[in-house]
């Protein structure tokens, strides 16, 4: 079963072992409070593979090239290949879903000014990187709708080590040897 090639395996893999919240939940009165919608929005950076969480905005490879030349070249090199930062066209096969790149750039780049890029800028840079890696065309536009539809070249090449139905209380070790 582990030779099934889909990451969807991960989504079902632990359901069997999960507890849902029980009726005997202790009530720690007045500890913590309900967050406001604004608080959640300000903190919630999650982007899921199906695009849930992607902000509004858009960008094209050409726009991305311009931003790269301003904000990214000094670590990644003028074409993204010269370093000292990681090469950006080295290995599209190492990325499972398109949203991974959006999420990482938004939360972690540039390395000295993390979180300073607007959503448009992130979409543009993602578009430029995908174009450089021959994943999208030069006139494709990346936005919240189109980005999750982009198919990464190695999307079927990721296999979770988590055993199906792994139960922490059980006797099967979790994902060490294959």
């Amino acid at each position: 079963m582990r030779c099934s090639s889909s990451l969807a395996l991960l989504m079902a893999v632990v359901l069997a072992a999960c507890e849902t919240a029980g009726a005997q939940a202790p009530d720690y009165k007045n500890v913590g409070r309900t967050p406001t919608r604004e608080e959640i929005q300000a903190l919630d950076l999650t982007v899921l593979a199906d695009g849930t969480g992607l902000p509004s905005g858009s960008g094209t490879p050409k726009q991305g090239a311009a931003i790269f030349a301003q904000k990214c070249f000094y670590c990644h090199g003028p074409t993204g290949e010269e370093g000292p930062g990681p090469r950006l066209s080295r290995d599209a096969n190492s990325v499972p879903v398109a949203t991974t790149i959006f999420d990482f750039i938004r939360r972690a780049m540039p390395m000295d000014r993390e979180g300073s890029l607007s959503a448009d800028e992130v979409y543009s840079l993602v578009a430029w990187i995908f174009y450089r890696n021959h994943i999208i065309q030069e006139d494709d536009v990346m936005d919240a709708k189109s980005l999750p539809k982009v198919q990464m070249p190695n999307r079927n090449g990721f296999f979770p080590a988590v055993n199906t139905g792994w139960d922490p209380k059980g006797t099967r070790p979790n994902g060490i040897y294959h």
Binding site: R33, T34, G157, P160, H178
Partner: protein
């Protein structure tokens, strides 16, 4: 003694005001008069009282090891000191060979910083923990809130997946000798905090949820996913280590703690937990902590989400870089651990695996924690290769390097004995728990006999 008595008499006669110059009753002889500006006792500068005079008020407030002790972490930095701090990626290696017992002092605990920047300096009063997602009632907590909840304390090891891998982070032939270099990304502490299951029951997890995303308040907002089953089982949200708040480099004021899981899952500077029905697949998960392991049936295949540390052990005395003074008795001692549970048995060989003896384990043997083992050994001066092999309570046995390579690469690994396995593009595998051989040479020097 006399100065104390005279202080007390003065106090009784003249009241506390007379001593308001900041003198504490019962002060050491050298200090009795200082706060009042009167002449010092003649012996304050006498060298024989040197040990009685504190070095500084800071040192009194929070002690430091003796200047003769000298155990230190070593640092590896992506970029040298002097480059702007935000561009640092720093990791600190624990000097395991100097460790006594099973607890790593907090100041010597290893850390790996994926944040790519200097360690965050978070004000706990401003820090918040948000728990939301597939829950009935999202909640946001202050640090005070979290500390009001029932706390638990557990002794657990922590280990980075890339420990004991001779590549990356500045490692190479020239610095692959001591346990600090080979195994220095593992430590063990008592961690205190709140059960994540308690927090999740408070928010009420909805049906269909199966994963938990955690995120830190560091500069890159490091993020990771773990199965909900692990979150509910024994995962903690910790704020203290070895009796005091966790250190800044360990994630002050709050971190996730996943007993037995690789270090990367123990997200530091924890600020947000989201309950979801799928793993997030962040860049930190794939490919940063995944491995390229193609095999028949999975061409171009990556193995992802390897969570649990396997059974592992290392002899710390004698170990690489040390020098035995001569023939005679030595206690061979080291540490063993497993992410699956408790250590059931440790075996030691002094003849490169031809024969094995069962080691004594220091009690109590704790679940997912360092376990100290020892055997008696009389060294006869001949060359000897020392090995240790751990069996955990699930029955898993620590593999030899050859067995680890085969597990990573398949049967073809047998073609390259003694060579660290790499993936098709030369990338390294993680979670290396291979048996560590130390060679004692005839002149008593001990060298690393793994790989090089």
């Amino acid at each position: 003694m006399n100065s104390n008595e005279s202080d007390r008499r003065r106090f009784l006669k003249e009241g506390a005001v007379a001593l308001a110059g900041g003198v504490a009753l019962g002060a050491t002889p050298g200090h009795a008069q200082e706060g009042r500006g009167e002449k010092k006792l003649a012996n304050v500068d006498d060298p024989k009282y040197a040990g009685a005079v504190p070095v500084s008020a800071d040192w009194e407030a929070y002690g430091v090891p003796s200047r003769f002790a000298g155990s230190k972490r070593t640092a590896w930095r992506l970029l040298p000191l002097g480059v702007p701090a935000q561009l640092h990626q720093v990791t600190l290696y624990t000097p395991l060979q100097n460790q006594a017992g099973i607890i790593t002092p907090s100041g010597l605990h290893y850390t790996v910083n994926h944040s790519g920047t200097a360690y965050p300096d978070i004000d706990p009063q401003k820090h918040r923990l948000l728990i939301h997602g597939m829950v009935e009632r999202p909640l946001i907590f202050t640090m005070e809130d979290i500390k009001r909840l029932p706390s638990v304390s557990r002794i657990h090891f922590l280990e980075c997946n890339a420990n004991t891998r001779p590549t990356g982070f500045g490692r190479g032939k020239e610095n692959w000798q001591t346990p600090q270099q080979t195994h220095g990304w593992a430590s063990c502490s008592e961690w205190t905090g709140v059960r994540l299951s308690d927090l999740l029951r408070q928010v009420g997890v909805k049906k269909g949820a199966s994963w938990v995303i955690s995120e830190g308040a560091d500069q890159v907002r490091f993020t990771d996913s773990i199965p909900l089953s692990k979150a509910m089982y024994d995962t903690l949200v910790v704020y203290a280590q070895n009796g005091e708040p966790i250190r800044r480099e360990q994630g002050f004021p709050l971190r996730l703690f996943t007993p037995g899981f690789a270090g990367v899952h123990n997200v530091k500077y924890l600020r947000r937990i989201e309950v979801v029905d799928q793993p997030q697949l962040s860049h930190f998960e794939i490919p940063m902590h995944a491995e390229r392991r193609p095999a028949p049936g999975r061409p171009g295949g990556w193995i992802t989400h390897r969570f649990q540390i396997g059974p592992k052990s290392v002899i710390l005395r004698p170990s690489g870089g040390q020098q035995l003074p001569g023939v005679g008795y030595f206690e061979i001692t080291g540490l063993a651990w497993s992410g699956a549970g408790a250590v059931r048995k440790v075996e030691v060989s002094t003849d490169n695996g031809r024969t094995w003896q069962v080691a004594q384990l220091q009690q109590p043997v704790l679940n997912k924690a360092f376990t100290r083992f020892s055997v008696n050994w009389n060294w006869d001066g001949e060359e000897a290769v020392l090995l240790s092999r751990c069996t955990d309570d699930l029955g898993q046995i620590q593999p030899s390097l050859a067995q680890y390579a085969e597990a990573m690469l398949g049967p073809s690994a047998r073609a390259n004995p003694g060579v660290y396995p790499v993936d098709p593009k030369g990338g390294f595998f993680s979670m290396c728990n291979a048996i560590q051989p130390w060679k004692v040479t005839r002149d008593g020097s001990v060298i690393n006999a793994m790989f090089f």
